[in-house]
């Protein structure tokens, strides 16, 4: 196919997808691991890097008011990979015109972390870890319906003789895996 025509098709497909949504998508998120490869029976850190669109906020994992829907991460059960408890950042107390008291919310960029435990029985190979980040977003005048962002990451299990290769150092610092 002509390269220019290929570009046109790709751009048009993107435009169609962008206009098909009813409510705006105000949260982007992805799952990253601290290592490219992991050993059987080992543990590896994982992070969910999320970003809330300017002007919007999502609720703290521990909302200040009981009627607010909390932000939370859920992982699909897997025989090879078990996700530990997710660590959520502390929200920021903010005042909004629709409330007479400040509430704790997440705005802008946030990072949630967890530790993945790789089963001792996991054979060398590639496994897909899937989950979702659920949230409910508002701005200072209106709220969007509860929504979620799918999360996924490929986990490559290697044999004991293979070296483990750290990854995403920026998100995890030096203690990538244990």
């Amino acid at each position: 196919m002509n390269p220019a025509l290929t570009t046109l098709v790709i751009v048009m497909a993107g435009a169609a997808a962008a206009t098909s949504q009813n409510a705006p998508q105000v949260v982007k998120a992805h799952l990253v691991l601290a290592a490219h490869t992991v050993h059987q029976g080992s543990r590896v850190k994982a992070a969910i890097e999320a970003e809330v669109a300017p002007g919007y906020h999502i609720n703290d994992h521990h909302p200040t008011l009981d009627y607010l829907i909390p932000t939370q991460v859920l992982f699909e059960p897997s025989q090879e990979i078990e996700a530990g408890e997710v660590s959520y950042p502390k929200g920021k107390l903010q005042r909004f015109g629709f409330l007479d008291r400040p509430i704790s919310v997440y705005e802008g960029k946030l990072v949630l972390t967890t530790t993945l435990s790789i089963s001792k029985a996991a054979r060398p190979g590639q496994y897909m870890l899937k989950g979702k980040l659920s949230y409910q977003a508002c701005n200072d005048r209106a709220c969007l319906p509860p929504a979620s962002v799918p999360l996924s990451a490929e986990v490559t299990v290697v044999g004991a003789r293979s070296a483990v290769r750290p990854a995403n150092g920026g998100a995890f610092g030096s203690s990538a895996s244990r």
């Binding site: 002509n2 390269p3 220019a4 025509l5 570009t7 046109l8 751009v11 048009m12 435009a15 206009t19 098909s20 949504q21 009813n22 409510a23 705006p24 009627y67 607010l68 829907i69 859920l74 699909e76 909004f96 015109g97 629709f98 409330l99 509430i103 899937k130 989950g131 979702k132 980040l133 659920s134 409910q136 508002c138 701005n139 200072d140 005048r141 209106a142 709220c143 969007l144 319906p145 509860p146 979620s148 962002v149 799918p150 999360l151």
Partner: protein, 276 residues
């Protein structure tokens, strides 16, 4: 011209073309095809409010047709929505003061279940009917990208204003007073919204009716024979939904009616199914 230059020119032309198509669709094609026929077919500047029947928290039927001759504030809201909650005392006050003049407030809650709504109803001493919303009703009113979304309907059954987001009670009061001055026989041509209003875009009742089915909610399955429908359901039961719900596409359609991901996957499957 080099190959890279040709690609760059092609890409630039594609972006200009897509931007042009988007703008043409948004400001020219879509308004004409989606809104003008409904408005013009009924006459007047304001579209007729889609009729619906819902059951309120006390088990009573609420039919918009029964409110003909009244001014109606139709409020789509949810208990988890702070901007919605702050508006409710204002609606309670307006209902109290203008009931005798012909004002009726109707609340449509879009919570997942009625328990929290019932509790809120008592706590806020709501004095007007509240029903649990359905996908059909929200679709008839053009979908709800945000809450609260409030429609002001005149005595003649036409929509005069659509407010998205929290609005001061004084705004509603001024608009209600203006609409109460109408007779119901004629359009209130002089009506001017007090605050910014959104363009009213209504759903296509025929299309929505076709999509309103218990087999595959939100999907028009009217063209399938029972045998083909069974095969189609089997197919989308075997496809995993990518929205993060941990369900297959059919399960997600049943559990999360507003999920655009499962709706898209189910419609794509329907198209390929129809071709096979």
């Amino acid at each position: 011209m080099t190959k890279q230059a040709k690609v760059a020119v092609g890409a630039a032309a594609a972006i200009v073309l897509v931007a042009g198509l988007y703008l043409a669709n948004r400001y020219w094609i879509a308004p004409v095809t989606l809104q003008a026929p409904r408005v013009l077919a009924q006459g007047g500047d304001h579209p007729l409010a889609p009729t619906f029947t819902l059951t309120d928290l006390n088990g009573n039927k609420i039919s918009l047709a029964d409110y003909k001759g009244k001014v109606v504030i139709l409020d789509f809201w949810a208990t988890w929505c702070g901007p919605c909650r702050i508006e409710i005392p204002g609606f309670v006050d307006l209902q109290e003061r203008y009931r005798k003049d012909g004002l009726a407030v109707i609340g449509v809650a879009v919570d997942d279940g009625p328990d929290a709504v019932r509790q809120f109803y008592k706590e806020f001493k709501m004095n007007y009917p509240v029903a649990m919303g359905t996908d059909t009703v929200t679709a008839l009113y053009g979908g709800l990208p945000g809450l609260p979304t409030t429609f002001l309907i005149g005595r003649d059954g036409r929509i005069y204003a659509k407010h998205s987001g929290a609005v001061d009670p004084e705004v509603f009061e001024e608009e209600v007073k203006e609409l109460l001055s109408g007779s119901g026989n004629n359009e209130v041509a002089s009506f001017k919204p007090v605050a910014r209003t959104d363009k009213v875009t209504l759903g296509d009742p025929e299309k929505i009716a076709k999509e309103d089915n218990p087999e595959v909610p939100g999907i028009d399955i009217s063209g399938l024979t029972p045998a083909r429908l069974a095969a189609y359901k089997k197919q989308i039961s075997s496809e995993k939904c990518d929205c993060g719900c941990n369900m297959n596409v059919l399960e997600c359609r049943h559990e999360h009616h507003s999920c655009e991901v499962s709706k898209k996957l189910a419609n794509e499957a329907l198209k390929s199914f129809a071709k096979s």
